[in-house]
Amino acid sequence: MSAELTVLLTAIFAASACALVGTFLVVRRMAMMADAISHAILPGLVFAYFLANGPNLVAGVFGASLAGLATVALVEALQRTGRVKSDAAIGIVFPAMFALGTFAVSKWFSNVHLDADAILFGEIAFAPFDRLIIAGRDIGSQPLIVLAVLSLLNLVLVLLFYKEVKLATFDAGLAASLGFSPVLIHYGLMSAVSVTTVGAFAAVGAILVVALMIVPAATAYLLTDRLDLMIVYSVVCGVVSAIAGYYLAIELDVSISGMMAVTMGGLFAVAALFSPSYGIVARARRRAVQRERFSVDLLLLHLGHHPTGDESVAHLAAELDWPRARLQRAIRQAGAAGSVAIVGERVRLTPDGQDAVHAIAQRLSPS
């Protein structure tokens, strides 16, 4: 396998492994917890490598997962004391863990193959040279194999526990009463996040792991309401960003993992602006239409209050406290619908308008 293909495939598997767990983080509103975990696994990784006398894969996974779970437990314990709020608890624990990790790396374990840059944005370009050797045989690129296995593992987990996690996310009480412990699922998910972070860490670094988890999932969340589709979109978005990011990075001679995050950011921006269902543009347009309709309703109802059913335009503007343009638009639309007639400077309800007023009042009367 060529070096380029190895790097590209590593990027793709990193993105898909992360996107699979990221979806659940976003719907459970735990993005910043994932950020905290990604930072906090560092000391676990360092001490595990130290004990294993080198960057041993299995030891690393164990150490980092323990550190990840310890972080979640610590944050929760700190919140329970009632002395700090939840955001402060996260903001106290993860910098402390990360600082401990970087301090340990630079002070004592400079031999464990981790330097500050690698921690932050990884060394995905080195993926082809980091070989997995089992029983003296070179199996292939270690990051690639690890991330491929992780993608498969996360996929299996999602398929197996989809229903349980979904239930625990949207109705923790019901899940508990049906015998799926939300606590167990919570810590299970956090374990998956920790293990995935460890796997992707070497390739893309601590902070960009979080990008891979959160950004595609957030993008997908803007596109669909269905959890299953969201997972699919999230993975697709992650993989597309990985491929595009890779080629852009090669072209511009910049960090591959950084470029992957930027590409994801671009896709996110497009979805945030232009998603047909939840995009800012579509939303603003829908609201403008609603607003117009609403203005007409208000105008009719206001006219309905007057015993004569008519009113001068100037008076209307003052009483409704609307800018002229808005009032004119509402009058025009009401006129087009046949609800009002304009007689000189006065606006008058038509018989159709009277009916409309009744309908509006009916619609808005409390059920």
Binding site: V26, R29, M30, A31, M32, A34, D35, H39, L78, T81, R83, V84, K85, D87, A88, I90, G91, I92, P95, A96, F98, A99, L100, T102, F103, S106, K107, A116, D117, L120, F121, I207, L208, V210, A211, I214, V215, A218, Y221, L222, A249, L252, D253, V254, S255, S257, G258, M259, M260, A261, V262, M264, G265, F268, A272, Y278, I280, R283
Partner: protein, 304 residues
């Protein structure tokens, strides 16, 4: 004269700059961090710090200068843009604040890394040092930095001094503040800008990755020792300055260890002691009280 005394105490040019610089960042971070923590915006500070990275790189690329003021302005602008985007995402989409923070933090940081590698690969001899903004390196502080930090930092502190009562009410009860006619939106902008300043000042010494700890840690620790906002601000500033100076001194004198992690470890030590042992609010006293209560109940049960 004061400079004379200072020169006697701190004999070395580098050490003096390092001590002054890290004390400054600690004070400003601690004071503004207090408001960030009380308004539950601690993690916004984290996102803001990460979002500052591309601004630093762009400022360097555009101005071709590493003058501290240039980089600080770049950092402040992109930090502000990041903050605004987070607020807009929360306001205009269905995503939660938590997700908005995560998205902006990581994407801006990714952009920062892209720009950083772009600068590095364009074979620019002058570029060395920008990567120090990741973890911070106090040893790179020179007098020019310290003067800039002092000037910019005093703006933030002056704002707090002048608008103390307004910021207090804004943090405690923004709705009441609006009802009595405070321009809440303007005050929010002012306070957030001051927090941006606090972050930007600290970036060179502590780095973008760990800067959040300088906002959150000292404030959380200070809250343990007092029930007065004024005292909390002072204490938080003191805790920040103390950890800044101690961490930076170890970093500069002991080894070439990056400063950020050392400073954060000092902050963390203060936080742990405060949460466990502060009078009244210390967690240890709580559990001791509970235990003695339990014992008292047990003893009463045994001797009816």
């Amino acid at each position: 004269m004061l400079p004379g005394i200072l020169r006697d105490v701190i004999f070395d040019y580098t050490l003096r700059n390092v001590a002054l610089g890290s004390a400054l960042l600690g004070i400003v971070g601690g004071v503004l961090g207090t408001f960030a923590v009380l308004r539950r915006q601690g993690l916004l500070g984290d996102a803001l710090a990460h979002a500052a990275l591309p601004g630093i790189c762009l400022a360097y690329m555009l101005a071709n200068s590493k003058a501290p003021l240039v980089l600080m302005i770049g950092a402040a602008i992109s930090g502000w843009i990041g903050t605004l985007l987070i607020l807009r995402i929360v306001e205009d989409t269905r995503l939660s604040e938590d997700t908005a923070l995560g998205v902006i933090l990581t994407v801006f940081f990714g952009l920062g890394i892209v720009l950083l590698t772009y600068i590095q690969h364009s074979n620019d001899a002058n570029q060395a040092g920008l990567d120090k903004y990741l973890f911070g390196q106090a040893a790179t502080l020179v007098q020019e930095h310290v003067i800039t930090m002092a000037a910019v930092g005093s703006i933030a502190l002056a704002l707090v001094a002048v608008f103390f009562k307004e910021f207090k009410l804004l943090s405690f009860d923004p709705e009441f503040a609006a009802s009595i006619g405070f321009p809440v939106r303007g005050l929010n902008v002012l306070l957030t800008s001051s927090i941006v300043i606090a972050v930007v000042i600290g970036l060179q010494t502590v780095g973008v990755v760990l800067m959040a700890a300088m906002l959150i840690g000292p404030a959380a620790a200070a809250r343990q020792w007092t029930n007065r906002l004024g005292v909390m601000l002072a204490l938080s500033g003191f805790f920040g300055a103390a950890s800044g100076v101690v961490g930076a001194m170890i970093s500069v004198t002991g080894s070439r260890l990056p400063t950020g992690p050392l400073v954060v470890l000092c902050v963390t030590a203060i936080v742990i002691v405060s949460i466990l042992f502060a009078p009244e609010r210390g967690v240890v006293w709580d559990s001791l009280r509970r235990r003695s209560n339990r014992r008292a109940i047990l003893e009463q049960g045994q001797q009816p």
